[in-house]
């Protein structure tokens, strides 16, 4: 049973990891908690569902949805956040802005699509394979694989491409990067784009995993994913994965041994403990105390 539960947790964790990378990348560069990311993820899922209902066929719908969500990411940055950077406003200002944005997105979704849960098509064949008396459904397997691929792809982008180099440069020192002629604003937009894309993919996968989507789906998953990101060491992609899996597994184990009502706060309990013991998370870089 525990093995089974751990497997449930792994799949859940992968989904958190997918959302977490969005938080991680943005925070890495802007030192900003993008509270609208949960809403972006919900947007991704619902837009895909909407496009599916337009009979575009599943795959085109998903690709289109991913594109739209990515663009949404850019739009948010250009419209609301870049101006704040220009007048280099306090971080709290941007924080409140993202909260506002998340309100706008979620409630527009509710206004247009209604808040009820809607059935989401399954992306993977039904049924399951049984490896030594515990079961993995194809959906779980599919989710796991796709998430892994996506995360690897992201890591390649960040570590192997020149754009990724620019991203890492801006992460370590945004001013220096500017001086070195890195088009920081473009890099940031691109980051938001990637964030949106990964969020949309996460949205599609998770919705098909639960076979439903609804506007408020981003609320809790968003908060948990963010704590996953911090857990793993915000700004680090492997960290996001480890953090996500940690949260996912501990969550389903908590649900098993203490009961479902505990699951929502496990993430936060772990988070607080980790922050107190190792404030920079598992993989975070240590910042030197300076005067």
């Amino acid at each position: 049973m525990i093995v089974q539960q751990i497997f449930n947790g792994l799949t859940l964790g992968m989904s958190y990891a997918l959302i977490a990378v969005g938080y991680s990348m943005v925070f890495g560069i802007l030192r900003l908690v993008n509270f609208s990311h949960g809403a972006i993820y919900a947007f991704g899922a619902n837009i895909v569902l909407l496009l599916v209902s337009l009979e575009l066929g599943i795959l085109p719908a998903i690709l289109l949805g991913i594109l739209f969500t990515g663009i949404l990411g850019i739009v948010i940055d250009k419209l609301a956040l870049e101006p704040l950077r220009k007048q280099n406003a306090a971080s709290i200002t941007s924080l409140i802005t993202t909260i506002g944005i998340s309100n706008i997105i979620t409630n527009l979704l509710i206004a247009f699509l209604g808040s009820q849960k809607k059935s989401f098509p399954t992306l993977f064949p039904d049924g399951s394979i049984t490896i030594l008396n515990f079961q993995i459904t194809y959906t779980q397997l599919g989710m796991f694989v796709v998430s892994l691929l996506l995360l690897v792809a992201l890591m390649l982008i960040v570590n192997k491409t020149t754009l990724g180099l620019a991203m890492r440069a801006s992460e370590t020192n945004i001013k220096a990067a500017k001086l070195m002629g890195v088009n920081v604003n473009f890099v940031i937009s691109f980051t938001f784009f990637l964030g949106g894309v990964s969020a949309a993919i996460a949205g599609a996968l998770i919705s098909s995993y639960y076979s439903m989507a609804y506007p408020n789906m981003g609320y809790m998953s968003g908060l948990k994913a963010f704590s996953a990101a911090v857990l793993g060491g915000i700004g680090s992609l492997p960290g996001a994965i480890i953090g996500g899996l940690t949260v996912g597994i501990s969550e389903s184990l908590a649900a098993t041994f203490f009961g479902s009502e505990f699951r929502d706060s496990v993430a936060f309990v772990i988070l607080i403990i980790v922050l107190l013991i190792r404030p920079r998370g598992f993989f975070g870089k240590k910042e030197i105390k300076k005067l």
């Binding site: 908690v33 704040l84 802005t97 309100n103 206004a111 009502e261 607080i272 107190l276």
Partner: protein
């Protein structure tokens, strides 16, 4: 008589602020007279709600506005206050006002618990811990059924009475209860601002290392800030519980915490006046725009974004223009050459 008065130094204002005093008096009389305009329960309800949120904003203002510690877990403190009061009054027949104080006390204890991490954790990470705190409190509410009766929530919270007079919504009693708390908290914030403590808070906000070098025990003051915010939120929480007459874990969500924070930022953090305008706008907006259904929360979001874009310091968030108020006595001491520098260091010269 005179002696007794001289014990307390009521906020003395320079002559050019006579207007301000007049304004304050008018405002106060207006607030006291308000219930006599014969508001319906519905509007009394809104008034009380606004009042409660102003108090909550003032509490968070001490954290965010003065000390620069961003908390997204205020709902947790509100919940602690609300539940402590309710449980004590309902299950143990403790007097309402006593229960409220105990509620504040317990909130304070949690304030310390939440303040201590600021020793190790800073900035966003601290904010995140507060966020987690809020969610954990909700889980505790759900799980600790024997006391909180879990997701069933607690119903029919009795309205308190003072000298046999019931402080209900309809007879305006609840309104005056909130008003009283509000006035106390405003005075407290005002006096705090012009004190060693207030200055320490503000110093920490701007530059923590520098304040350490000024000999300020930053850990102590950061924790103190959390405690103050917690106590006040707890007190407001119990009144809020009375107003609702029903509480469950969904009364104290992350949205409540963000609403309080938004009020502080929108109104102008660090100011007292700002909390009023912020609360009035953000609390009443959803009411007046009830007909907009889902769109009213879109509107709420739009306002936040626009405000942050064009007026990040908040609606009333300007710096004071009038000179720093120096009491007669201080000026006298100064002119008498009290605390002369040479006197201070003469020892080194002989």
């Amino acid at each position: 008589m005179k002696k007794l008065f001289s014990k307390f130094d009521f906020p003395k204002l320079p002559k050019n602020d006579k207007l301000k005093i007049v304004f304050l008096i008018l405002a106060l009389t207006f607030l006291i007279a308000l219930p006599f305009f014969g508001f319906s329960n519905y509007w009394m309800n809104n008034l009380v709600k606004v009042g409660v949120y102003i108090v909550l904003a003032l509490a968070l203002n001490i954290l965010v506005g003065y000390t620069g510690l961003v908390s997204l877990g205020q709902a947790g403190f509100v919940a602690i206050g609300a539940y402590t009061m309710t449980v004590l009054v309902k299950d143990y027949q403790v007097n309402f006002f006593v229960s409220v104080l105990i509620g504040g006390l317990i909130a304070a204890i949690f304030g310390v618990l939440l303040g201590l991490p600021s020793l190790r954790v800073r900035g966003t990470y601290l904010t995140l811990i507060t966020l987690g705190f809020g969610e954990i409190i909700r889980t505790i509410i759900i799980v600790w059924e024997p006391v909180t009766s879990g997701p069933m929530g607690i119903r029919n919270i009795p309205t308190p009475s003072l000298f046999g007079l019931e402080l209900s919504l309809s007879n305006g009693g609840l309104y005056y209860l909130v008003l009283a708390l509000l006035i106390l908290v405003v005075l407290f914030s005002h006096f705090l601002f012009r004190s060693k403590t207030g200055r320490a808070f503000r110093a920490i906000k701007v530059d923590e290392p520098a304040s350490i070098m000024m000999g300020i025990n930053t850990t102590y003051y950061k924790t103190l800030a959390f405690v103050l915010a917690a106590v006040i939120s707890g007190l407001a929480g119990s009144i809020y519980a009375i107003q609702l007459g029903y509480i469950d874990q969904n009364t104290f969500t992350f949205d409540m915490s963000t609403l309080i924070l938004s009020i502080v930022i929108l109104g102008g953090m660090g100011t007292i006046r700002g909390m009023f305008i912020g609360a009035i706008i953000l609390v009443l907006l959803p009411e007046v725009s009830r007909a907009l259904m889902a769109y009213r929360f879109v509107l709420y979001g739009v306002i936040l974004v626009i405000m942050m874009r064009f007026r990040p310091q908040g609606i009333l968030g300007w710096k004071p223009k009038k000179p720093y108020h120096v009491t007669k006595n201080a000026r006298m001491l100064f002119e008498q050459g009290h605390g002369e520098l040479v006197k201070l260091n003469i020892s080194n010269q002989e």
